[in-house]
Amino acid sequence: MANMELQWYHVLIPFLPLTGFIINILLGKEVTRYKAHWFAVSSVFGSWLCSLATLQDVLGGKIIDADLYTWILSGTFKVGVGFLIDPLTAVMLIVVTTCATLIHIYAIGYMHGDTGYYRFFSYLNLFTFCMLMLVMGNNFLQLYFGWEGVGLCSYFLIGYYFNKKSAADAGKKAFIVNRFGDFGFGIGVFMVFLTFGTLHYADVFANVSSIAGKTVNFLGLNVDLPTLIALLLFCGAVGKSAQIPLHVWLPDAMEGPTPVSALIHAATMVTAGVFLVARCNPIFNLSEIAMNTVAIIGALTMFFAATIAITQNDIKRIIAFSTCSHLGYMFLACGVGAYAAGIFHLYTHAFFKALLFLAAGSVIHAVHTNNIQFMGGLKKYMPITYAVFVIAGLSAGGFPGLSGFFSKDEIIWSAYASHSSVGKFVWILALAGAFFTPFYTFRLIFRTFFGEYRGGLEAEEAATHAHSSSHGSGHSSHGAGHDSHGSGHDPHGHDSSHGSGHDSHGGHGHGPHESPYIMTVPLMFLAVGAIAAGWVGIPPLLGGGNHFAHFLQPVVGHPEFHGTHAEEWGVMILSTTIALIGLGLAAFMYLRKTDLPERISKQFSLLYKILYNKYYVDEFYNLTIVQPTLKLANKVLVGFTDAKIIEGIVNGVPNLIGIFSQKLRRLQTGIAHHYAIFMAAGAVFIVALVILLS
């Protein structure tokens, strides 16, 4: 691989969106206002063009690792702002800039007329900048910078409708849950520095073999150094990529506007964890424990999130759990050593999941509710949205020939054929996931687009009123009842802060209508991606060259598989059959026997309730972490530290001064003679002192 100097277009990739951010945040309120998207979209589009040029370089076999600027220099510790552009980065650049551009364009339509229009676009730009810094960095500190930057933007954008309590809470939840992961990640970065004396990827990975088998004293225990570093770094990935046990923030993050969900909570930010694991693969490869942890956490998240998704009624939450589940797939792939398969799934997932979200946004835009109970029959009102939704669903479900099929099949095959000691276990979960994904996706599609239109927002509001007035009638058919826990439901904020936008293109009262072209055209482009993006990774078995894996091989290597062609065919046919069964079952339950789901949920009401309440993880955390923390805060911090110590000092000092001054003020008699006597006496005293002491 030839090295190459840093070119201007490499530098422009992250800094164009930064420019867009600066322009809009400074001038947005007064100058750019409802033209904010001009700068936002054109800067991201420029990044996309630069990314294409960069991809051209990398495809030509070039690798760039250059510092732009020395950021921190302290003794031997040197960190630069620098770029590492290799095949892995190139893939991420394409994913990020393509999705960002299309989603920015879509947001022009979706956010039309919103009062915070410029704010939205400036945050979106800032996010794109941070994400690009994250994937382009050539050292761990820059990765960390981007990592926290995207977390911050995620917080801004989840809480975008900040006057709605549930949105503000969801933003805080995302931020705080991520603290747990980032704490480990931060320590991991420290450990890397302590071990290698540098944070530069190239230097770290060149010396990585020297730490194999070494142990280190950590909290009084002797632990394997590579395992420790890998697991600490993985902590960050678990938080950012919403894996068990830190997955709880992602469903709530759906409070943000839908383009945000598509860009941040589906296509790019949440995949940063997978990127991290793939980037640090030399470290992970040294530790079987860490690899198995990654694989098992990924597999468990994939399975549990998929099972939750089949019972949810909020269109965006279903897709959010689907995202959790697909991220689990990616980690599973990384955990069995098939990093290329994980990144391949990241790449295809970005397209079909962004498409699912944006299409869902288009639906919400039309019916003003997130609850699929009140949708239905939208096929004839919104043909384009319907078509792209089905494409995305098929791709996500692994329908043969579409993007998702190739990547998912690659993962399932990798799990089956790898040497990993947990390979077979995660393989079985992966197959189970292959059943659930098409099932819940098509449950969503059938509930949304087929049958009769069930009234949208008006029907939901009527149902809510009926529900609250006839309290205790207890007839909540198939979970039609409102989510009772805190963050629950979220369509209204969208409507109230947004209403003026709708009237300008259609108005209410005539049923739902298709979204404007500014929204549907990006959907079509993404649909092309959802169909064709995976064609770069067709396995040799199906006559392809698996170019994607070969492209990434210099960075992530290639795992040794054992397995015959017959087995590969078998696994592929098995997973496809399972996926088709899932699709068929969804069709049967939600198109033919539409009373069946309700009967099943009654029959297995316990299981249904557990799934509907997401395994009570939120409640569990509330009980074990949130409440004790609140108690601790109220009793100890507020009740003692704050009230006694801090208030004691803050109030005590002025009180003391007050007491002393009460005494001291008596000296101020106001009578000139007293002062004169004091002065004279003072003068005599000083003179006496001088005479006596000399």
Partner: protein, 101 residues
């Protein structure tokens, strides 16, 4: 025959002491201002005598400064006294204690 230095210093001490005594014992604000002038002039005598004695002109320059400051102080002091007298028709300091803490 020159007057010895000690005479000047005794004169200075006498003038200064009269000033201090006047300032502490009298209640009329005009008298008190005059006492301050006496103290300042006592210091001036001292400065000039010593300046002459050690043949250094800086002492005399300092005396000019003291005179200038004393003039300014007297002007301001008398202005305050006049303002106060107009308001309360008294020049008796014991009756003026607005500054009591």
């Amino acid at each position: 025959m020159a007057v010895p230095l000690s005479w000047y210093m005794l004169l200075s001490l006498a003038v200064f002491s009269i000033g201090v005594f006047g300032f502490l014992s009298r209640r009329n604000i005009i008298i008190m201002l005059m006492s301050i002038e006496l103290m300042l002039n006592g210091v001036n005598i001292n400065l000039i005598a010593l300046s002459h004695y050690i043949q250094d002109l800086r002492g005399q320059i300092l005396a000019f400064f003291v005179i200038a400051v004393a003039a300014a102080e007297a002007a301001i002091g008398l202005a305050i006294v006049i303002a106060m007298f107009r308001n309360r028709a008294t020049a008796h300091v014991d009756e003026i204690k607005e500054m009591q803490g």
